[in-house]
Amino acid sequence: MSMFKSLSAEAGAEILSAMRSPSYMIPTLVFPIAFYALFGLVLTQGREMTAYLLATYGVFAVMGPSIFGFGVTVAAERERGWLQLKQISPTPALGFVFGKFITTLLFSGIILALLYCTAAYGGIAMPRVVWASLLGVHLLAIFPMLLIGLSIGLLLRSNAALAVANIVFMGLAILGGLWMPVSVYPEAMQNIAKLLPSYHLAEISLAVSQAPGERNILGNLIPVVVATVLLLGLVMVSWNRQKK
């Protein structure tokens, strides 16, 4: 019970802290919705693109809170010695990660809800099971993204972390085909896309939302799982190194 209490307290504090920092709130909440409204609704003709971008922007939407929420804040807190303090204090050290995870989940959920409402306003109608599976895929996308953020946060100093997080964030979004289909890129760029978890997550989202084109969910799921496992390994190594 005390474990639950301490984790809840940790998560509650994280949520409050996130809510109180507009520099985190506004970009992560507003940007994906604003971009989607602009590129998916206003600047396109026909609902095909609106539906296509809904699938890919869902992945983009959860990237913000995952990469920045972990990458930048962990790096800053680590530099201030906060992480070290946590690790030697009697509370479970992973509570620190847990709190951030809950915050990320909460924010991602809110952004996704707003994104879906925007899409619905733009005329997208899909079978209920598709909406539900799309939500499932987008929520699952949090895990690899969060691990990317956490690796950045654990490995880099806070100044570098912000810069790297930005580059990684943009790279995953653009090269992964979250803003526009990778099929419009030259072949070399298309090959890079296939190395990115964001690309495979977007393909899975597109497959469940039945976008035109042939897709093999398993073929996209395996790279995502592999990437997640590798990232988890990286995080564990850097976490333990941190302890020493």
């Binding site: 209490k5 809840s8 307290a9 998560a11 509650g12 504090a13 994280e14 949520i15 409050l16 709190g99 809950i102 989940l105 909460l106 959920g109 809110i110 996704l112 809800a113 879906y116 409402c117 619905a120 997208i124 109608a125 899909m126 079978p127 209920r128 099971v129 598709v130 909406w131 539900a132 939500l135 039945q210 035109p212 084109g213 042939e214």
Partner: protein, 596 residues
């Protein structure tokens, strides 16, 4: 206090997202129905008693069918209902679900097909984006009111060649080098086979040359795909047969096949889908049908009543009929295909017309029924289709009478079953437009777009990949009368260029049943111009009437019923455009109105 934030906000989020999923707009799409019907599937057994199977050239004795989950699991007079739901077949004849082996399946094609007993379409060119879904759908044995689709997807043609005129995206082929990647792309998109257009003898359109056509055939075969060809003449047919084509998707009509060609076709084991229905339409011969007119969908009515509107030489139905008989007698497989929805044909309906034409060519009723069922099933490897036996799909048609005595009995459909479920044959009514009485669309005195119901804009072949341009402006006559000035420039780029002005109903289709004619005053560059009319289900070339303009004002009066196939209760608008020629023209239009 702080401890409560996370649990509460997460609960709120979970409940919020869950209810959002239920509140977001849904469609009754395939997935939705699939999910619902998977439960239904479990008890989708049906017992059909007292029917007679018409296949393999014989009308069988009364028998019973047992169906489970969309599959026939038993046929025989000894089979009993065993407590299952019973459907009384009343002694009707059962035909295996018909296969139309030459369609272009868009619009209401798949629902129109199945309502007329055509449960499988072999599509010879349509938008490749539908292929993935089509593959899923045709494997699904749950209840659906839709024809199953196999397709060539995008077809192989040259820049500006046949096929590029429909506004469907085509990657054309110019060199042999492009062939491997083109074929690879089709396989990736899900083409079930390949179709190429080979008509180098036609001087009005470009074509793939023989070398490229041969490369496509070889590449397709190397990758395990059948390759079919669209040809126009006997010589083109001979080239393709010599080069190893698997089948021809039309018969030629320019002359009767000679013995050498027939022998060659036999030796090379090609099959032919003659599409006599569309050749009859090109040759201006109406075939007719005995179906209840109220069963026709708007698209069926429109395409069936439409005509090609031009005389295309080299299409003699008599030659085609004679050649079909020669090939058939030599042992070349003949397959029924309609080429619907080309002008003069309609999905579903025209396969029955095609069977009638094949009988007219001199083929026996038994062989003709096989040409629409078992033969294409074998040739296109359609497992479980084309023949009714234990284990085959429960796709079949109940008709009155013995089709081996009279092929037109295939049109006496009493019911259609798709995946073991009875098909709703009535057409779901399309919403008619709001009624509009006689009205002045525009007199242009207050400007172009002052009408409450209509809006003007330019229309050109740019939407189909052409390069023509048009502009609209106001013009003032010497007496102060204002008119609409339309400047049109037809440029080469699209095989059938157009440019001009369109006027469309602002708030969706209007019901013009109470209107007799479209009237306007016109003057301009002397020459022929076209007026097109668009209604709810217009697909392909809209019904068109021509008029002559001179440099003096004249009044043009076009009867709305003369626009063949126009759905009067569902009109979207009209377009006044240039003639076919390349060049610059100018029109002044005034007082355009709808009169009783």
């Amino acid at each position: 206090m702080i401890r409560n934030i996370a649990p509460i906000s997460l609960s709120v989020l979970a409940v919020g997202l869950a209810s959002l999923v239920f509140l977001l707009p849904t469609t009754e799409s395939e997935v939705g129905t699939k999910v619902e019907s998977s439960e239904e599937k479990l008890n989708s057994s049906l017992y059909i008693e007292n029917v007679r199977l018409a296949q393999s050239g014989k009308l069988g004795a009364p028998t019973n069918l047992l169906i489970e989950n969309g599959i026939i699991i038993g046929i025989g007079s000894e089979i009993e209902a065993g407590g299952l739901e019973v459907f009384d077949g009343q002694g009707h004849t059962v035909l295996a679900g018909l296969i139309d082996s030459h369609t272009h399946s868009f619009g209401s094609a798949l629902s129109d097909g199945v309502r007329f007993g055509v449960t499988t379409h072999i599509d010879m060119f349509s938008d490749s984006s539908v292929l993935t879904q089509a593959k899923l759908d045709r494997e699904d044995v749950s209840s659906r009111n839709k024809t199953d689709l196999y397709s060539a997807g995008m077809m192989a043609t040259s820049p500006g060649g046949h096929g590029t005129q429909y506004g469907v995206h085509i990657e054309t082929i110019e060199t042999v080098d492009q062939v491997p990647s083109w074929v690879k792309a089709r396989i990736a998109e899900g083409s079930d086979f390949l179709k190429l257009v080979y008509m180098p003898e036609q001087d009005w359109v470009t074509s793939l040359d023989r070398e490229i056509a041969r490369a496509i055939i070889e590449e397709g075969h190397a990758r395990g795909l059948k390759v079919l060809a669209h040809i126009n003449t006997d010589i083109e047919a001979r080239h393709m047969i010599e080069d190893g084509i698997d089948g021809l998707v039309h018969i030629f009509g320019n002359k009767v096949a000679d013995d050498v060609l027939v022998e060659l076709a036999k030796e090379k084991e090609v099959f032919i889908i003659p599409t006599l229905s569309v050749i009859a339409s090109v040759a201006n011969e109406k075939v007719g049908h005995t179906f209840d007119e109220t069963l026709l969908s708007p698209m069926q009515r429109q395409t069936l009543n439409a005509g090609f509107g031009v005389d295309i030489p080299g299409f003699s139905l008599e030659n085609a009929l004679e050649s079909v008989k020669l090939f058939h007698d030599a042992g070349v497989p003949i397959i029924a295909g309609s080429d619907a929805p080309n002008p003069g044909t309609a999905h579903g309906v025209s396969l029955h017309q095609e069977m009638e034409l094949l009988v007219r060519a001199g083929i026996s009723e038994a062989d003709v029924i096989a040409a629409a069922t078992s033969i294409p099933a074998v040739i296109f490897e359609l497992e479980g289709r084309g023949e009714l036996q234990q284990g085959s799909r429960a796709d079949f048609v109940l008709i009155d009478g013995n089709p081996f005595e009279n092929i037109t009995f295939s049109q006496n459909i009493s019911s259609v079953f798709k995946n073991g479920k009875i098909v709703e044959r009535k057409v779901t009514k399309e919403k008619a437009g709001s009624a509009l009485g006689p009205t002045i669309i525009s007199d242009f005195e207050e400007g172009m777009n002052t009408s409450e119901s209509f809006i003007w804009s330019t229309t050109t072949d740019e939407m189909a990949g052409g390069a023509s341009t048009a502009s609209l402006s106001e013009s003032v006559e010497e007496d102060g009368n204002k008119t609409l000035q339309v400047d049109m420039q037809n440029n080469a780029g699209f095989p059938y260029p157009w440019a001009g002005a369109s006027v469309f109903a602002k708030e969706g289709p209007v019901d013009l049943s109470g209107i007799n004619s479209l009237v306007f005053e016109v003057k301009g560059t002397q020459g022929q111009y076209r007026t097109m009319a668009f209604s709810g289900n217009t697909r392909g070339v809209p019904p068109t009437l021509t008029f002559i303009a001179t440099e003096e004002w004249s009044t043009i009066r076009l009867g709305l019923t003369e626009f063949e196939g126009l759905e009067l209760n569902n009109v979207n608008g009209f377009a006044i455009v240039s003639g076919h020629g390349i060049g610059k023209t100018q029109l002044y239009i005034d007082n355009i109105r709808l009169e009783e």
